[in-house]
Symmetry: C2
Subunit: 423 residues, 2 copies
């Protein structure tokens, strides 16, 4: 309350000062000023808390969400995001996934070992079944249980890759399996999201509907992975002849918006389209410098997305049953990934199996987006949404220190190597 | 009407097909889908018409505005931009000016010859007085006449720089005077915009108010030009120690949003703050790669701004008196810049004076923003808004061919040089 008081006192003092110094300020229409105020405060708050989290060796993404929880309407109430901010947050989510797709080369997915696919599939089934069963046995409806289960499946490839890279162990066999499986996981998670988004639109589960949506999602995914990149090839010669400034980026952005809209139109989540748009252009990204350019756009827009996730998080809900459920779901989320991803690898030895299981732990964007789709379509209740966000936070916070501990020998080797040959 | 019919038939056919193929598509909430549809159509339409204009050797910006006129509510009515689109357009305008500021080094402004400043000042006074007088004598109110006059003053430094660069004559003396004066012009135009934005908030002109605003704008501008860049220097060492990914861009964006909000808060237009934020970071842009990164953001957002300008343009108004007024204002806009910018240079010879006068002709973003501020605050009527947009279009369309003709000897030399030494 002290922080809240200080902050609102600051805001009031600043308003008073502005009105004393600039006697006509209040005559200016308030609309754009309010938008600019929210744009500034959200961006800066998200980045400052993100920076603090990075220094505490926790993912910045989590800090941006925490900023939303703290400043948002359910805690200190300094920012009540407008509809425009939520729309900008949606566009931010599109760019987060577009960026993730641009970093994923389709041939890596095609070439990937059956082991990674097996790890991904079993690692999706176990959390989904455990999550679904717990919520269902607790007395929640089938749809709600499906949502929470679906939110538990997808490992965050972004967070995992960042962690392994920071540890300098990207070349290890375990790291390669983790990354390959995490990418498949994201895609399978998105297929599941398509199914869940379909559920959100009907009252209860309709099996024909579910079948149509699953088929759509698989056909869409297969088309994009196997043919998408080839469809860009004929464009390549033409792009050079265009007079438009920065033509490759413009075309990539246009296709990202097109596929996002198409995905939404056929009943999937818009971000699935954005991810596939990224996948299509991944091969051409080095030549056209797409990844750094899209990263700049996402640097600006993504904080609004993560902040909005936090702003929708009702801290007041965490009492009694909800808190217990959140803790149980978090434990299940950790155990189920350890089991689901570790078991198929027991033949490779205990250490590899455990390492992959822990590496697959952090949930991220996909889990939060599944929960958000559910919340926005009024199928998932506030408590279930809070449970999913809590689970995401716990798995994301715990993975880095545990992974650092598991890889401690390899990290020491890297450090020794750097020490022996500093350049 | 044929194009409109074909387009709306296409949209309807596509909707019908979507509903036949995907029986559950209509169950998905329409909100995000509508936003995505508008985001996609506006972006692609703006870029396609922009490309056509570039090929016809006209500025792409103009094509993006024309796309808005054609698809917007006053012509074929295919896109009725939502409030969210207009908000995104506002953010787009902020990035257009942030980008312009990043490309303008403050010491170039400080070092610039008195000649360029003289050209800028006289080149602002003449169009303002002529525009004001014509509208006032025509029977419009003082405020409305001030708005139209203010919209006539600012040469578009973006369009001018692009034109001179395309012609390969950036090194000529005339080009240097044009660019220096155009930069001053933009700043003086923005001070005038601050005044005008102040007017928009009061009923009629209040002289005390106007004085406060002018002083504010001048103090703000002087602080930013002379001290802004130095304020970044102590930040420089700290930026390196930050853990946040891409920290320099994040800090520049935060300051851009802060100054935009502050400018709006003290009663100036938000974009003035964005321009000064760019100016502050201009010296650090090469080291931190700010310009290409901000250009990527503005590549995505700016089309929504220019499209929105067109979408607010009522083509039906151009009958009788309004059409005549628009033509007279356009002629005055051309003649007044020729006189105002040419006369101070008559000592340099007829050719230089004429060249600078023509180079200062194209109005751009600032004129359109002045008009938009007036329209949004209900001080300027639709006809006056249409007159300003018409004047902007005419001066921007006419400048390139005339400038190419005036510089024909220099351009031929460049071509010959390239022919003799192709590499």
């Amino acid at each position: 309350m002290c922080l809240s008081g200080a902050l609102s006192a600051f805001v009031k003092a600043q308003q008073l000062a502005a009105e004393l110094i600039y006697p006509y300020a209040s005559l200016v229409p308030a609309g754009p000023e309010k938008l600019l105020f929210q744009l500034f405060v959200i961006f800066v708050a998200a980045k400052i808390v993100g920076e603090i989290f990075e220094r505490l060796r926790m993912p910045a993404v989590l800090g941006e969400i925490v900023a939303g929880v703290v400043l948002g309407p359910y805690a200190f109430g300094i920012i009540h995001p407008t509809d425009t901010i939520y729309s900008i947050a949606e566009i931010g989510a599109i760019f987060v996934l577009f960026q993730a797709g641009l970093g994923t080369r389709p041939q890596d997915l095609i070439r990937i070992s059956h082991k990674a696919l097996l790890v991904a599939v079993v690692g999706i089934l176990v959390p989904f079944i455990l999550g679904f069963l717990f919520m269902w046995l607790r007395g929640d409806g089938t749809t709600e249980a499906t949502f929470v289960g679906a939110a538990m499946v997808a490992t965050s490839v972004g967070i995992t890759a960042r962690l392994l890279g920071d540890l300098g162990v990207l070349d290890s066999r375990a790291a390669k399996i983790i990354l390959g499986a995490a990418v498949f996981d994201d895609i399978l998670g998105m297929v599941l999201l398509a199914v869940v988004a379909g559920l959100a639109s009907a009252a209860g589960i309709r099996w024909l509907h579910l079948g149509v949506l699953t088929a759509e999602a698989i056909v869409f995914a297969a088309l994009m992975i196997f043919l998408g990149s080839r469809m860009v090839r004929p464009l390549r010669a033409r792009v050079e002849t265009l007079s438009t400034h920065n033509a490759p980026l413009i075309i990539a952005l246009a296709i990202c918006l097109l596929l996002s809209w198409m995905a939404a139109k056929i009943g999937m989540a818009a971000i699935i389209g954005a991810f596939f748009a990224g996948l299509i252009f991944a091969d051409y990204s080095p030549e056209w410098e797409l990844l750094p350019r899209v990263t700049s756009i996402s640097d600006f827009l993504a904080p609004y997305f993560f902040f909005s996730i936090g702003a929708r998080f009702d801290v007041g809900l965490f009492t009694g049953k909800v808190l217990i459920a959140a803790i149980v779901i978090s434990v299940l989320a950790i155990v189920s990934k350890l089991l689901g991803c570790g078991l198929p690898l027991l033949g490779e030895g205990w250490h590899t199996a455990m390492t992959v299981g822990i590496g697959m732990m952090p949930r991220g964007e996909v889990a939060l987006i599944v929960a958000l789709v559910g919340l926005n379509s009024h199928i998932v209740t506030q408590p279930s949404y809070a449970i999913v966000v809590f689970m995401t936070a716990v798995t994301t916070v715990l993975a880095p220190p545990i992974l650092r501990y598991v890889f401690r020998n390899e990290v020491r080797e890297v450090a020794d190597a750097l020490h022996a040959h500093p350049f």
